[in-house]
Amino acid sequence: MQVFSIRAWASVYAVLICCPVAWGVDYARDIRPLLREKCWSCHGVLKQESDLRLDARTSMVTAGVVVPGDPDASELLRRVLAEDDAQMPPRGEGTRVTAREYRLLHAWIAAGAEAPEEPVLASPTDHWAFQPIRRPSQRDPLLPDSLDGLIDRRLRHYNLAAQAQAPRTLLLRRLYLDLLGLPPTARQLRDPRPYEEIVDALLASPQYGVRWARHWMDIWRYSDGYGLNAQLRYSQHHLWHWRDWIVESLNADKGYDRMIVEMLAADEAAPEDLDAIRATGFLARNYYLFNRTTWLDNTLEHTAKAFLGLTLNCAKCHDHKYDPITQMDYYRMRAIFEPHQVRLDPVPGQSDLDVDGLPRVFDDHLDAPTYLHVRGDPLSPDKSRTIEPGVPALFAGFQPPIRSIALPHGAFAPAARPYVQQDLLAVAQARLAAARQAAKSVQKVERVTREDELENESASSPPGETSGGTVDGSAMAELRLRAAESHLAAVRAALQVERSVVDGGVTAETLSDMRREASRLQALAAVADAELALAELQEATQPDPKQVAAAEKRLASAGQALRDAELGKRPYQPLRVSRKALESPAHKQEDYPTVYPSQTTGRRLALAQWIVSSDNPLTARVCVNHVWMRHFGEPLVESVFDFGLRAPEPLHADVLDFLATELVESGWSLKHLHRLIVTSAAYRRSCSNLGADPRTLAFDPQNKYLWRMHVRRMESEVVRDSLLALAGKLDLALGGPSLSVGSDSHRRSLFYRHSRDDEHPFLSLFDHPDHLQCYRRERNIVPQQALAMVNADMVAECVTSMADGWIEEADSPAQFAQLAFFRLLGRPPTAEELQACEDFLRSDPAETNAAARAETPDGHGTARLAHAAFSPRNAMLLVHALVNHNDFITIR
């Protein structure tokens, strides 16, 4: 099976250019990468052990390590072969050169150690991406102050001719797919409004948030919770709240800076704002039941990669080999996250956390120390020194001070929140109402209700004792009713306790009495529940003796608890309305307090503020690069998660900086960024080589200079959503719990569950993102995609709907073909294409006819047969072929 992977091509290319030593050694190709891997971490810009740098010919020759033309005299060769203390790289600090590599070095030196004059960084801080972001025109007044100006300047410089703007309908299709992830309708393709107005309208559509949420969810590693059966091991249940926050934030054009602050520290920046706290799903997603270090490693790695384009993870075991990041930096960053934990808070209207809840983070272990792990081994912490929280020293200059923050009561005592209290009460009341209803329906004689009485009872007056009615209902209904009444009374009493704690205003003595009474009512309710449970078991025709024994035991211990409570010997059970994610499988929920720390360290907030500081040279650049790549198909900086020293300054560095400045100055408006990009002439160019200037084509076949638009492919979600949209079947509803991947919903693909255990079978074939890491989508072309597009039922249903609808609008095969071409591909067919389609529609294979005749019994089919020129079956097959057309899945 042939696999056309961009990355695989790159590898093949890399191998092809590798040639025998005899063919001549090339410094840039053969030697430079070798020295970089083996030597530079100690003899380069980061460190100059023995005052030696091996990253420039001059320094190598001056130091006498390389003697051009004389391999035998070159210390470099002696050292790589040495087997004693002189061995390089030293034992344990890198693998030795291979024989092939040795020969390359030897041949290179023998041939004179030729190497181009390369600018070498004097200091790692000179690296381009570490420089402050400045508007290019401010740096150099001669530089244009627009995206197109900068790109065109380079085109002019190299005398390259740009392609014309893409045909309008193709451009609109490109724009719709880009901004909404949905194809335009026929009417939208003919929209007469100016292009810019359409751009604004699309950016204002709520579907924009759905489209771009998925892009950011790739980068931010969205994954629904998963584990083994009932045991949650990774991520969190109900993580879709974070997804909805992303969609809403994008639609509201919340600043990217604010989004980062909320994702890392909404619980510190806005402790009572549940909407904002949804954002901390970004951190909650890293939850891992079995190992805190792995959990934090993931948090650190992906926080740094996603926002900063730094491979901080490489500094976990030793100083970073290529970037100025030390192992100490790694553990300083770890200390920022050390106190945080994850919990599920109740959401308004639902107190059952299994049904719904808000996954969020909070600082739990405020004083948990962080130690450096020697060689990255968590079993070897260096306890001689506690690591203070902080950002990498390289950029620590603008780190805001870390200040702990006092939290409002509702933030750390969820049971005191008014909505939580109301919801708990409502649940208890609903239970009572249901029990009453049930009791009524089984009672022959109208019970003299105590309802009014009960409503007027103070919470401290236990139900059941004042019962005065005559009961002639079933004993079971009565038990249920009593249990519900007891439960309500207990809940009321507990809520009062929780509220009094917050509101204050009661003396310690009163509070103590309230707790004692609440405890008694809780015990009473437990007895009622236990009685009910036992009775329910005994009601069965053949009660299971084991279960009965267990229920009896439960009743006995509930009775004992009640006696203790009556003597004031049983402590009040605080209401447990939220659920902390277990720190270890050995823990139980009951091990954790119901009220969380009233302070938070402020560490994550400081980190977030540092990331979005205008002094931070990385954040805006990394963001722009991600957005650019998703519009143009190719990034400006190839290594999208690594802007470190290994990332060479990009060709369009000025474009990157222009857009980064615009982003920051617009208040980090992503919509502003989109608008700048999609309204540029560069974006609007045709993606075809057709009619290209031959010199341009020869000089820049890869389109590095952006003289045309890159060709892109729809992401998996866009393939499915487009089919459903064109069929008129797409349900555009926003938000809510993730859908099971087995459901054949017509909602947008974003809303399906996505985790290790949840991959949608159709979506998975089109390079659906790996939930563990996907900073960039693959664009493979594999035969299974073709099979899905031809054979999947979903596709067949969609094309049938399309053909059924469109056939009414067409009077001839030619018209139908034109119409289908236009809607599916955004362009009219060429004469040859039209001919091929007409021939197809007119052809009359026996089986197609038979199938068409089979459709006649339904009235609809008869109407369609009115087209004597072609059968509805042929029309459907034509549409089926067109969704398999390369230009359907391609964004032209």
Binding site: V15, P20, E75, R96, A99, R646, N689, N884, H885
Partner: protein, 477 residues
């Protein structure tokens, strides 16, 4: 500064770089190394001994003590605590350190101190006289073609070790490509009508293979179902074969015409080709899992005639048919459930007997069939599991997870048959003679396929020393 380069040192370097094997000299390996087109996707680095791999993985942890590594001392000391035997040092905490615990204080994955006697007998098989337990009589009959490696070790004491056996990385470390993905990445395709990397049977901990190589290097999961062995292998709706042919034809015509609007679009060319392949795959894949053209005796060889062996046997027969058609790597998992069926914390004897019955005859059938067709020379069969089981008993009738020493075996593709390599100590606790970490299996496979594991890497993704493994030269023919 010293003058000259030590000849000895250079020779050492060469030996270490490209070890000499019977099939090629270091020099030969090195020179073909530079041939344009070798390496990722373009074929082997040097001349290969094998073309394909059939990877059989028993999920849950097969007891080495009841399969391929007999330890009579367990019978002698049965019921004694390890500490009271002469072998007490096996539990020396220093020697237990290599394990990296995932679930601290889990019910499983613990030291089991009271020695548990062998639950099944062993006998010598074949010319080589290698001992194999009574659970695997058919495999025993093939032992002269097998190299048993009795000295494997790994570092995960829980079933995440399944991930580790395939990727070389512990469960707590980042996911990296599996051996099947690397082979596919390194060698590319022999038959464009078929996926090059096929998976069958249950998976759990890691459902992807490619990871940073990309989804194109994930195993394509197949079922033994001639109707739909592969997702979307036939129209799910009412489209007839003839209609589908017409659709494919029209797509082809239109995509060809599209070339005039988009000259030089490589991806258009690729898509055209992918549709041709897709059309052929629809027939080629179902044909492989339809066994009607296999003789009754072949089908019996794989156990297709018996309920216990049918399911696994069908997968193995399909594997042979895939290998015949040039598929590179067929990864077959045996044993369902999250942990894997072979996880006998209790009822070891009964459950292992049952499971061994499901695989023993089909695997022996596969080896015999490959051999009689002359395919065994170029096909490596691997029988592996994530770890062994404790010499001590768990709950009186089971054994716990045991990462310190366990057995796997390989056959075919230039692997020497009828040999045992490496050994555990007297009670089967530690791999003591020629111990091998799991990636040594990978390195050996890659070597036989003509790939140098050290040269398989992707820029931006660091491989660790341990990821590369070392070729087990002793087992090469």
């Amino acid at each position: 500064m010293s003058r000259g380069v030590g000849g000895l040192a250079l020779a050492n370097l060469l030996a270490q770089d490209a070890p000499a094997g019977p099939s090629e000299s270091a020099g030969k390996a090195d020179s073909s190394d530079f041939a344009p087109g070798s390496g990722p996707g373009g074929g082997p680095h040097f001349s290969p001994r094998a073309r394909s791999v059939i990877w059989l993985f028993m999920r849950g942890g097969v007891s080495h003590l009841e399969s391929f590594d007999p330890k009579p001392a367990l019978n002698r000391y049965a019921g004694k605590t390890i500490a009271s035997t002469p072998f007490a040092d096996v539990q020396n905490p220093e020697r237990l350190k290599k394990v990296r615990v995932v679930v601290v204080n889990d019910a499983n994955g613990q030291q089991r101190n009271v020695l548990y006697p062998l639950q099944v007998g062993f006998r010598k098989w074949g010319q080589s006289g290698i001992e194999v337990s009574h659970l695997f009589p058919h495999i025993g009959g093939c032992v002269d073609d097998i190299a048993v490696i009795r000295s494997m070790w790994t570092t995960d004491d829980n079933h995440g070790a399944q991930v580790q056996f395939h990727s070389g990385r512990h469960m707590l470390e980042p996911r990296v490509p599996t051996i099947g993905a690397w082979v596919t990445y390194g060698l590319g395709s022999l038959n464009e009508n078929l996926p090059q990397f096929i998976g069958m049977g249950p998976r759990y901990f890691d459902r992807r293979d490619g990871h940073y190589l990309g989804p194109a290097y994930d195993a394509v999961q197949l079922k033994i179902d001639p109707q739909t062995p592969l997702a979307y292998a036939r129209p799910e709706g009412d489209m007839t074969g003839g209609e589908q042919r017409r659709v494919f034809d029209l797509v082809h015509t239109l995509n060809r015409l599209d070339g005039s609007l988009y000259p030089g679009d490589e991806r258009l060319e690729a898509r055209l080709k992918s549709y041709e392949l897709a059309f052929r795959m629809q027939t080629s894949v179902p044909e492989i899992v339809k066994f009607s053209d296999e003789t009754e005796s072949t089908q019996r060889l794989y156990g297709l005639d018996q309920d216990a062996t049918r399911e696994f046997g069908q997968q193995l027969l399909a594997a042979r048919r895939f290998v015949e058609r040039g598929v590179r790597f067929i990864q077959i998992m045996h044993g369902g459930g999250a942990a894997g069926a072979w996880d006998q914390h209790s009822n070891l004897k009964q459950k292992h007997t049952e499971l061994a019955r499901q695989v023993d005859r089909p695997i022996a059938g596969l080896l015999r069939d490959l051999k009689q067709r002359g395919m065994l020379d170029s096909t490596i069969v691997v029988f592996a599991t994530e770890f062994g089981r404790t010499p001590g008993s768990q709950g009186g009738n089971g054994r716990d997870h045991h990462p310190f020493g366990f057995s796997v075996w390989m056959a075919g593709g230039g692997i020497r048959g009828g040999m045992v390599h490496g050994a555990t100590d007297e009670i089967g606790f530690h791999a003591v003679e020629s111990p091998h970490y799991v990636t040594d299996i990978h390195a050996t496979l890659l070597h036989q396929l003509g790939l140098d594991s050290r040269r398989l890497h992707v820029p931006g993704h660091q491989r660790l020393e341990r990821d590369y493994g070392h070729v087990i030269h002793d087992i090469l023919a």
